[in-house]
Amino acid sequence: MELLYSLCVGVMTFSGVFLCLRGRTFPVVVGLIMLGYAVNLFLFSSGRLSLTGAAILKKAENYPDPLPQALVLTAIVIGFAMIAFIVILSMRARADLGNDYVDGKEPPGTPRGGDVHRSKSK
């Protein structure tokens, strides 16, 4: 289970970082969302993973650490608000700047109308 869990977190972090390094706002926003998911899982695991722990205290001998769960809950709420903000901001940037590159201008060498026809470019 530990291997599977850490692989999941690792792959998601990797994808998140990769997408954050893209030049357009949409992949970057998706990357930030992935990074947010990865970090939530990671925080959750900081209380150690256990299979048979009881969710409620005093009902069993073995229960998981409740603090990381509280932390994850807080992190989810904050992350959600931040993602909502960046989505609106990137729509605003698309409208204000006329394109969806994070630098506000098309990189040199982009073919005319390349935005529409060649979705795979860049």
Partner: protein, 508 residues
């Protein structure tokens, strides 16, 4: 009432900001009500902080357990002299930038004042909290307010700067959470003082993980503080923000610096065994390089706002150097310099805006343009701010830099600190005098009578408030340095925090 004092500086802007959204204050046309309300709030905030400062100087550091959940698991507000000084500085800076905003900036959008209050709440909370996760929460509060404030007024430049700023800070927040997860996973606590007790008893395997967490945390704080490889966002963001916002942002980099001081002095301090001074090999070269790159940026800036932003980077580098020396004396010197540099760089942003408004299309760029309307007033303000930030006597920059130089006592510290600070000061003087010459003396063409824009009294009062603080902290230099000395002493002395927080297992 007195028992709840440590949490009041957080509650006042929170409740006040919410109140400003309600009927007597909401609405475009009721801006006068909003201005009165917000001034009262700021004064209340400063008053509460002064009371807290008095209490701390009488009884020593005080703690406040929210909901009466005790340390180490409850969320603790911890008011020691360092936190109180910084909260007072925040309140003062907030008052000055709000006064400046009364000159017109606050009417560009409806929610300027509430956002300003939430920003103040976030900054205050970050200084007062003694729990790393709570620090993260307050970072997010101040960040989301700053995202909205940065784009306040709208425009292409602001949108563009804001996209970069938000994305960078969201990545930074993820890293912060990764770091917290690692530290919690190894030490089993998030309370700063408690972590400092547990950090030395880690097994070698856990130490490696905790070290990774420590380094990740340095990246996060470095990003907020604009430390060298992570500073690229700062000049553009600060130059794009409207003036009162940029002035308030002058304290935001200091939040990062404060994080470095707090975490790496208390948690990874001398008691941390193998993990003590983990960032020492990094912080020296990075701080010197930060000063260097800030100086180069200051010389190369095309406009006054850019110059001011680069001076902020220099001040961050200087502060990190004061941290790197690692003695209480150096920390005390750093705190004095922190107060001074925050006030004066904020003033410089405001002055840049005032100059920019009077030069037509050239704004505050260093090009030949028409003459400013009020050369005597603006020239005088600029001259005072430039003298102070470059570190010329009789202003606070001189004392600030002098105490840092004095605190670098040993040979190798002296070898690095002295030349770097002195040369960067000299080059800042060059950059500032070049800027002043171009802005005030090299002008062409007649004034355009059509769009005369005289500086409003609100704007002057905001700038004067900041600039007059500089001679005040020089005149009362002994008192201020005594107090920062106390702050540094208590920061380096773990036992006080452990005793005040009533942590179990006080002495190993």
């Amino acid at each position: 009432m007195m028992a709840h004092l440590p949490v009041l500086p957080i509650l006042i802007p929170l409740l006040g900001g919410l109140l400003l959204l309600l009927p007597p204050f909401a609405g475009i046309e009721r801006y006068v009500n909003r201005r009165i309300g917000v001034t009262l709030l700021m004064l209340l905030h400063i008053g509460a902080t002064l009371l807290l400062m008095f209490q701390v100087s009488q009884q020593g550091p005080v703690m406040y357990a929210i909901g009466d959940w005790q340390a180490p698991f409850g969320i603790i507000m911890f008011a020691d002299p360092l936190a109180v000084i910084l909260v007072l500085l925040t309140g003062f800076l907030g008052l000055a930038s709000t006064l400046y905003a009364f000159g017109g900036t606050d009417r560009e959008g409806r929610y300027f004042h509430p956002l300003m209050q939430f920003q103040l709440m976030g900054i205050t909370g970050a200084f007062l909290t003694h729990d790393l996760f709570n620090l993260f929460v307050f970072f997010e509060v101040l960040l989301i307010a700053s995202y909205a404030l940065l784009i306040h007024g709208g425009g292409k430049q602001k949108t563009l700067a804001n996209v970069h700023y938000v994305i960078l800070n969201l990545v930074g927040s993820s890293l912060f959470l990764f770091a917290l997860g690692t530290l919690y996973g190894t030490t089993g606590t998030l309370n700063i003082a408690d972590m400092s007790l547990k950090i030395s008893s880690l097994t070698p395997g856990e130490q490696v993980i905790a070290e990774a967490g420590a380094m990740l945390l340095l990246v996060v704080f470095g990003l907020k503080a604009a430390m060298l490889p992570l500073h690229f966002w700062l000049p553009r963001t600060y130059a794009a923000a409207s003036a009162p916002v940029a002035a308030l942002f002058a304290i935001m980099t200091k939040v990062g610096v404060y994080g470095i001081f707090r975490v790496y002095t208390v948690v990874f301090g001398d008691q941390a065994g193998n993990l003590s001074d983990v960032i020492q090999p990094w912080i020296w070269p990075l701080s010197i390089a930060t000063v260097f790159i800030g100086t180069v940026g200051a010389l190369a800036s095309p406009h006054l706002r850019g110059l001011a932003a680069n001076l902020v980077i220099i001040s961050v580098g200087t502060l990190l150097m004061a941290f790197a020396i690692r003695t209480p004396e150096a920390s005390a010197a750093g705190f004095y310099y922190l107060i001074h540099s925050t006030l004066i760089s904020a003033a410089l942003f405001l002055i840049a805006d005032m100059i920019g408004r009077q030069r037509g299309k050239a704004e505050d760029r260093f090009v030949i343009a028409r003459k400013v309307e009020q050369p005597a007033l603006l020239g005088l303000l600029f001259f005072v701010a430039a003298m102070a930030i470059a570190g010329l006597p009789p202003f606070s920059g001189f004392i600030g830099k002098l105490v840092i130089l004095q605190s670098a006592a040993t040979g190798s510290d002296k070898f690095w600190v002295w030349p770097v600070i002195l040369v960067s000061s000299l080059l800042s003087i060059v950059a500032l005098s070049r800027a002043g010459t171009t802005l005030f003396w090299r002008h062409a063409g007649e004034r355009d009578k059509a769009d005369e824009s005289v500086v409003s009294y609100w704007q002057i009062s905001g700038v004067l408030l900041l600039l007059l603080a500089s001679p005040v902290i020089v005149v009362f230099g002994a008192t201020v340095t005594d107090y920062t000395g106390q702050a540094a002493q208590q920061l380096h002395d773990l036992s006080t925090a452990v005793r005040v927080l009533q942590l179990p297992g006080a002495q190993p």
